[in-house]
């Protein structure tokens, strides 16, 4: 059977970080093909390249055996490729019907839109997508699961022969998942191929015909679903790397620095753990499992609905980041460009941003003192930069991350929540950041370390808290835990 789609040698870089390295992927007509991998393995990037939403740096694609170039979503649509994005790309204030035809409106000869004709046109596609609603309903009034069906109906209206779905079940209830899978089966029967990007093992094994595993941007392999099992796929996702020999023995004090019990916000439920002086506690879980949300709760950004947090035995309840900082909690956010740095300001200004008041008298910045303190901190972080006075936007990703870390080193919190501090930076900068974490632990700080890279957690942490769907899924000893164990808890692979 000729492959419907074949992608080979796909390379993609973002800001000097490799997202895909020589990835390959193929889809047969009428099959459901799962694309799996850990966070950051490149699944979404590959799917978006196929759908024309991103452009590969290099690589080749063939459609029905014919070489093709897909450099825009319009190109992909002409071929018959449609994608349902994780962040649904709908127009929330337009109606369901308008969302369905928005790409085709321009082809209409008449300058106006006939609403009755529009409704008639949309009805079959909405029915096929299993969506019962008035086509004139504004999309933002629909529940999220229904919005996804609108996106699916749009894909159907394009007569797509290949539909890529990026984590389509992440926002669905059990019921919604059943309905979606019913639809996918129907599509398959009518000869449409579906690519299903996910890391939920149960769903993958339920729906897919074949599974392709990506790791660190490369294709590890493709398996026929009926001939493999969860453990093999998890092993392929995690890799066979041995544990880093560089793991250091660390003396963790018995003193509990931070004790969290039953912490609940709108986004996390009943989280409990204790963090000791000098301990590095890993926080593992898939995207959306509540890792960053735990940080937001501790840092005073999300209001608590239940639970108690004690700092050195004293109950605390920070309501703003400013309060959290005064209580001795720091948070290095996940996205350094959006949440972390003032990109147009200088390295010096960013470094001392959280503590500018400390280097001031009567409101005036004491420039000499400030510069001296920043220099020392830069030195400690092995930050090599041409000058403190250049805009932070001119630095490499790794150096930007170090500036962000220096900001918190200068603030000197007792408890520091590091949200994926090594994401998208080079190996050298990673090693420097590991050393800083080591030094902080040795100085008796408590570190909460979020990471999408399991080897990193196993290397740096004393214990690992695994989260799933905003809840505790387990607490492992990092010395004895394995990647498979963490993944299995995080994906609920063996549950039920």
């Amino acid at each position: 059977m000729t492959e419907l789609l074949r992608a080979e040698g796909i390379h993609k870089h973002y800001d000097g970080v490799r997202a895909l390295v020589d990835a390959r992927f193929s889809v047969l007509p009428g099959e459901v093909h799962a694309l799996v991998g850990e966070n950051g393995a490149g699944k979404s990037t590959l799917a978006q390249i196929i759908a024309g939403a991103l452009r590969a740096d290099s690589g080749e694609m063939a459609w029905n055996g014919q070489p093709v170039k897909v450099s825009s979503p319009a190109d992909a649509q002409r071929l018959g490729i449609a994608m349902i994005f994780q962040e649904l790309d709908l127009f929330p204030h337009l109606s369901v019907a308008e969302n369905l035809v928005i790409g085709n409106l321009a082809r209409e000869r008449r300058p106006w839109v006939g609403f009755r004709a529009l409704d008639d046109y949309c009805r079959p596609y909405l029915e096929a997508a299993g969506l019962k609603c008035n086509p004139r309903t504004p999309v933002h009034t629909l529940p999220i699961g229904h919005r996804q069906l609108v996106a699916l109906a749009r894909a159907l209206s394009l007569n797509a022969r290949l539909i890529l779905m990026d984590e389509p079940t992440s926002s669905l209830s059990e019921d919604g998942v059943d309905r979606l899978f019913g639809l996918v089966q129907g599509l398959k029967r009518s000869g449409v191929s579906v690519v299903f990007v996910s890391h939920r093992m149960r769903e993958i094994f339920r729906i897919s015909d074949r599974i392709t595993v990506l790791r660190d941007g490369a294709t590890i392999g493709t398996r026929v679903t009926s001939e493999t099992d969860v453990d093999e796929i998890l092993a392929m996702m995690a890799g066979r790397e041995v544990k880093d020999a560089g793991r250091q023995t660390r003396r963790v004090s018995a003193e509990v620095l931070l004790s969290v019990s039953g912490l609940t916000t709108a986004r996390i439920h009943d989280i409990s753990f204790e963090l000791r002086r000098g301990e590095v506690l890993g926080v593992a879980g898939l995207v959306g499992a509540g890792r960053s949300e735990l940080g937001a709760a501790l840092f005073g950004m999300d209001p608590w609905t239940a639970g108690e947090v004690r700092m050195k035995g004293v109950p605390i309840r920070p309501r703003t980041p400013g309060e959290a900082i005064r209580l001795g909690i720091g948070l290095l956010p996940e996205d350094r460009k959006i949440e972390g740095l003032m990109m147009g300001m200088t390295v010096l200004e960013n470094s001392t941003m959280a503590v500018a008041g400390r280097f001031s008298r009567a409101g005036f910045v004491r420039a000499g003192q400030e510069r001296e303190a920043a220099r020392q901190a830069h030195h400690g972080a092995a930050l090599k930069r041409p000058s403190e006075d250049v805009a932070v936007s001119t630095l490499s990703g790794g150096n930007q991350q170090k500036v962000l870390l220096v900001k918190w080193l200068l603030a000197d919190p007792e408890v520091l929540f590091l949200d994926d501090p090594t994401r998208g930076i080079d190996v050298g900068a990673k090693r420097d950041i590991y050393q800083i974490i080591e030094r902080l632990a040795a100085a008796g700080k408590g570190i909460l370390l979020v990471s999408s890279e399991l080897p990193e957690l196993l290397r740096c942490c004393d214990r690992i808290l695994v989260l799933r769907d905003g809840r505790n899924a387990g607490l492992l000893d990092a010395k004895t835990a394995t990647q498979e164990e963490i993944l299995s808890l995080a994906t609920a692979a063996h549950a039920r």
Binding site: P321, G322, I325, E339, G340, E349, G363, V365
Partner: protein, 316 residues
């Protein structure tokens, strides 16, 4: 660094053009370069310039203040109302002082309310200050009963007030002193750094625990205060409290800030740039008037200059 000198270079170019195109006086000297004319230019732009200083802070936080013209009108009205009110037993100095303080306090209060609503209720600055622009204009007209209040034509306190505050040295001196203060605050203080940080990245500012609300309230309070001060000078200069004064001044102030290279989306900009932007507008107006260009054509020329200045900065 280039960016910093760019607006100054633009100013130099405009001044050069002004010198070249200036008409000659009867004795053959350059009218534009005459000492009287140059100081006139400075005086004429001081009122807008003072407003533009605080507007620079507002825009740096990625905000906007459309209410400055109305606040100026409020200041002229309050000043005139207090000055024309007989205050038995008070000598001229304290009477004038109270008039000015009352005007400044009212205007700072309006600014503080703007800032409070913007930061507390999280409504867009454009909408809040648009509402204030309408409401404060109404307040000024209501206070004065819709009429101009003439001041300083007799021998009373108001005359002393007007005579003093219309002097070129006082007007230009006030502007220069405020420019120096605002420059120092922006470049040397923690507050100034927060102003730029919030405009550069408000999300990151929140993650850094910066006092975003407090900074915003202060920034709009300063904008109200300086608009009020500009109004006091305006009242002296024009010998009246005028509730219709300052219409479209917000646009002139914003233009001066933007020509000076401050980014409308916030985070990037400087007081030096705003000074240059104000001078460019002032010199341009002056030379066009010296050449007897129709005032309607003058507006068209300004329009082109604004777009040109910003597009040149964009390209860098």
């Amino acid at each position: 660094m280039m960016r910093r000198f760019q607006s100054v270079a633009g100013l130099a170019a405009v001044v050069l053009l002004a010198i070249v195109f200036s008409p000659a006086a009867a004795d053959g000297s350059n009218i534009f370069l005459g000492a009287g004319n140059l100081t006139d230019v400075l005086r004429q732009m001081s009122v807008i310039g003072i407003i533009a200083l605080a507007m620079t802070y507002v825009i740096l936080t990625s905000g906007i203040d459309l209410s400055v013209g109305s606040i100026l009108a409020l200041a002229t009205s309050v000043t005139a109302l207090v000055l024309t009110r007989p205050m038995a037993g008070w000598s001229a100095g304290p009477h004038i002082g109270i008039a000015i303080l009352a005007a400044l306090a009212a205007c700072a209060a309006v600014g503080a309310i703007n800032g409070w609503v913007i930061s507390r209720l999280a409504i867009q600055p454009f909408i809040v200050t648009l509402a204030a622009m309408i409401g404060v204009r109404g307040l000024a007209k209501w206070l004065t009963g819709n009429a101009n209040i003439d001041i300083g034509f007799g021998q009373d306190e108001a005359a002393i007030f007007a005579a003093f505050f219309k002097q070129k040295a006082v007007v230009v001196g006030t502007f220069a002193a405020l420019a120096a203060i605002f420059w120092v605050i922006l470049t040397r203080t923690v507050f100034g750094r927060y102003v730029r940080a919030i405009g550069d990245n408000e999300t990151a500012s929140r993650y850094t625990g910066l006092p975003i609300r407090r900074v915003k309230v202060w920034v709009y309070t300063l904008s109200g205060l300086l608009s009020g001060l500009a109004g006091v000078l305006y009242a002296a200069e024009n010998h009246q409290g005028n509730p219709n004064a300052g219409a479209a001044y917000e646009l002139d102030a914003i233009a001066a800030v933007v020509i000076g290279g401050t980014r409308l989306s916030g985070g990037r900009g400087s007081i030096a740039g705003t000074l240059a932007g104000t001078l460019i507008m002032g010199v341009l107006t002056n030379i066009l008037r010296l050449k007897n260009v129709d005032s309607n054509v003058e507006m068209m020329v300004k329009a082109v200059i604004i777009v040109l200045a910003v597009s040149i900065q964009k390209r860098q």
